[in-house]
Symmetry: C2
Subunit: 207 residues, 2 copies
């Protein structure tokens, strides 16, 4: 299926909206209701969904469960993506055991650290391996995604090592701006942003 | 200063863009350059910034450092906001020590758990206190923000306890949909979303 990058972003937005509806127990929804509830455009929703053969039934709408399944497959979430976590500090250990990283779509297949003291210890079902084995591990498990939870000063060399080892995308939790490899999807997570947003909300409330 | 909630959102976006420029060593930038670089609208940027007395100089633009300071103060980030973290598991411990939660704007003033085994242990400079003391702690430190890192089943009762104790906004890391108190800013962090985005990027690349 040939879906543009812009459409992918919108499909992922629809998916999040539909999951909210599913959690609330909603079974069917029209494009108009989706649009009103989540501040989207109904004609655009219909056009996007029609692109991969989904047409709402007039007066009934779309079936939420079915549509979620279709979006999962359109977005590549119906396949399992093996990932590894580098940096077995507190955050890395927490993320390696995090359920959202261990389900039908994602699976932590290896955990690594460069500290010989940590290598060989268990994190959940996995044994910590040395970062020297990175390339071998990526090949062995067909690792697609690398999660970086190393200290700031180690982040750039470890990012480069991940990319050189063949990882296809990187999620970085280290609090630094990385020099990114062109064309390789990467994303940095900054928890501070979330706190800042809450402060803005508080300000907006006071107005 | 009376700034609408919509403008606040845009100001926070400008702030993030300006921080990127600051990290790269850029000293001055025009609204036009800001617009082109970050896919924003130049007239809207000028209008938003003029609202709090900032006018770029023709042919020179805005001073990045100065503008960041002004945005910090407009967004309430020039004051320190005391926060507490409830749930001293791996993630909670990591977040309590996270530098982004301990700077000029944010400060972890208390860490709590309901497990008597953990109470009294040290996390960085702080001693873990029992969740029974929540109300007292919020009053003692004037806590504004609560960070929730408890297991899924404990999240709703602990969210309610935070709100009842007088916390003004909640950042939730527990993987559940909370029944939120109306009018109280809350935000849930789902790490999985970031991995999903990377998968979409990979798909988009293959197209």
């Amino acid at each position: 299926m040939d879906v543009s990058s812009l459409t992918l972003n919108r499909l992922s937005l629809y998916l999040r909206c539909l999951r909210t509806l599913q959690e609330e127990g909603t079974e069917r929804i029209s494009s108009q209701q989706l649009a009103e509830r989540f501040d989207l455009s109904a004609p655009l929703i219909r056009k996007d969904l029609a692109q991969f053969g989904e047409f709402g039934i007039r007066g009934i709408g779309y079936e939420v469960d079915h549509l979620i399944d279709r979006l999962h497959s359109a977005l590549g979430l119906d396949q399992q993506h093996p990932l590894l976590v580098v940096g077995m500090g507190r955050l890395g250990t927490a993320l390696a055991r995090y359920l959202g990283f261990n389900d039908a779509t994602f699976r932590v297949v290896a955990v690594l650290d460069n500290d010989a003291e940590k290598v060989g210890k268990e994190v959940g079902d996995l044994t910590i391996r040395h970062t020297d084995e990175l390339e071998e591990i990526v090949r062995e498990y067909g690792v697609e995604l690398g999660v970086l939870t190393v200290p700031a000063e180690a982040a750039q060399p470890m990012y480069d090592a991940l990319v050189d080892a063949g990882v296809q995308a990187v999620l970085n939790f280290a609090p630094v701006s990385l020099q990114l490899r062109p064309g390789l999807p990467s994303k940095s997570v900054d928890f501070r942003i979330h706190l800042e947003e809450l402060v803005y909300f508080l300000l907006a409330k006071e107005d």
